[in-house]
């Protein structure tokens, strides 16, 4: 399966640093930006705070980035592999579908929890910037299509409810998991354990798909 092929944001950006020193400065800025974003959120983060946190002059920021959105894109690019949607792995006929689903859901919840700050940041910025909204849509579409294929396969095998629209069903169930993760780990809603969440969500998935246990 490997890493998700999400391309970089089509963000206008500066050219890559030509020297090692430049690469170091750029990196320092990306790390500082992550710190500041996680601490203050996207809207309240000031460019000067990022520069200060990175220990460079205010103007140096613009040597590498065109603005806040641009660094954010760089920050997100760095953690792209962890920014998952719940995704079923390919499974062979002999695999137990319930286990596959459970594994995917649990992995997703745990990744979300680990990167909660960043995931919240994504939601915040998607609310505010069309470019990131587009990115979110693109990612979701990619995941939904993948899961739709897995679901279609289960239907062909007579394992899943054939009456379901595989695309819509896959999307809805993905969204259920990701939104629950958001509410639990970002919004602070409820205090259920990741285990409890994973168990319930998996049971809902399998039931929803009509998979017999």
């Amino acid at each position: 399966m490997g890493a998700m092929p999400t391309r970089a944001l089509p963000a206008q950006t500066r050219r890559a640093p030509a020297s090692a020193r430049g690469a170091r400065t750029r990196q320092a800025l990306v790390e500082a930006a992550r710190t500041v974003f996680e601490r203050d959120g996207f809207i309240d983060a000031r460019i000067t705070d990022i520069s200060a946190e990175a220990g460079v002059a205010a103007g140096s920021f613009y040597t590498y980035f065109t603005g806040k959105e641009d660094v954010l894109a760089a920050v997100l690019a760095e953690v792209e592999d962890e920014m998952l949607h719940p995704r079923l792995r390919e499974f062979a006929d002999r695999d137990d579908p319930v286990t596959v689903i459970e594994t995917a859901n649990r992995a997703y919840l745990e990744a979300y929890r680990r990167n909660a700050k960043l995931m919240g940041l994504m939601e915040e910025v998607a609310q505010v910037d069309e470019r990131f909204r587009r990115l979110r849509r693109r990612r979701m579409r990619a995941f939904a299509e993948r899961n739709a294929q897995a679901l279609a396969r289960l239907q062909e095998q007579g394992i899943a409810d054939p009456a379901l629209d595989p695309r819509l069903a896959a999307q809805a169930l993905s969204v259920m998991v990701s939104r629950m993760a958001y509410l639990r780990y970002v919004d602070g809603f409820g205090n259920d354990s990741t285990d409890a969440l994973a168990a319930t969500l998996t049971r809902l998935w399998t039931g929803a798909l009509g998979i017999r246990r």
Copy 2:
């Protein structure tokens, strides 16, 4: 069913207008605020735009409201009944659970679609203001508890999967519907018809709950 029990936001607010003229001005401001919020979003809306839209002087705004959040609370209070979560009505033993669920989901999707601007506003503002985030949590909890009770009853009757945590399951399924509605009607994701959405979501609900058809 009756009115939703969500109390008004504990927003600091000015006293109610004493005169009829004052009442009219206040009302004009609330309506203007809704117009401006729906047009520009919460963050980009400026108090002066609201005053201008209402046809009053800038300063008059503060006679009635303490700030942007305060008017927004007033706007939301006016349309409170339209701000729904998917909710199962009480149902008697003779009712068909599938029909009850389908009706609730369809009604919710349609209400969401009708009030898409406002629902998007809620999401935007929840992202930005803790007080509205709290409001959102409170509402969700109320709905989830209601639906949890309905679900528990279905379990008692042997209709729904007894292995499910009724509270978590109710929350997850509600969240699935409301997030799908947000993506479809606010974010512009996909182009599925409300019928298709309602059908798929209902099928997922019933399957997830283990209700036999």
Copy 3:
């Protein structure tokens, strides 16, 4: 003859103040702007200096003007009547054309000298801002046309050289006077007296037009 009909600059501007207090503040800003512009020139003038000179808060500037160009337009509007190009008054057949020309030239030189700072400002800003360049062209055209008519009349009367293109000739002679005034009073070129300048320029005009003395 009366005031020149030069319309206001098509500059985007704020609405006029509604109260007497507002009118006073606006006026203070216009006067402060003139002071600052004459002292520092257009490019080096800072909005905050103008606000400070007027004794108002920085932000108040924007209650009345949209920017530096906008105040400058207001400053220039106030002194519009003094901002002349050399212009022949209407004259009857019995008037001595030489005297008419001499009077116009002298008046122009004196007005230019009096408003030298402002005239220099005009040249500076025309160099920098297309809107003012347009204004300068428009004014010049208006003056040239007027003088061209006077010249054509002299030609009809057999007083002026009939071989001259009245429009081009009028423009060239006007330009000669105004540029000499600029060099003398703004640029500091030479140290000839206004009398000497007026005498020479008039002699050149009359000779150029072929008027017999």
Copy 4:
């Protein structure tokens, strides 16, 4: 007639390049500067644009020049012969003064037209930098003195109006031509042909000087 006696600007400048490579880089910068100045004007031209246009690193600029004024001086030095004022050539008693004047005016207008960008640059920069203002004054003085001598000679010969102050008259008439050229070719005022301009200006010159045709 020979080269114009205007010395180079007393601009502070770096030493001449020692190596052939250095000479090439310097030359590339001068040419790039001319390109950028003609394209963007003096004020809007950025040093980094000049370096980029020359294909060298930003810092290399300072190996050869101290700043923008300094390169500009180098650019102007390269085209010094083209930066003319209207100037009468020496003429013998047998020459027709009208022809001499006409030739000078036409040559000037054509040179101005050819170098309009550069002439406009000179005006722009004179508005902004005292050093170039001084240069402009010095040139004008040199030309006016030359023409004053020619005029005085015509007066001695009984050809030109003896009542004119030769210096002021020469200056005024030169200024008339050069300003008309500026307005026509830089500012875009009017659309008269160079022929028409030359004809009118010459007629005005000869009339102004009282030369019989």
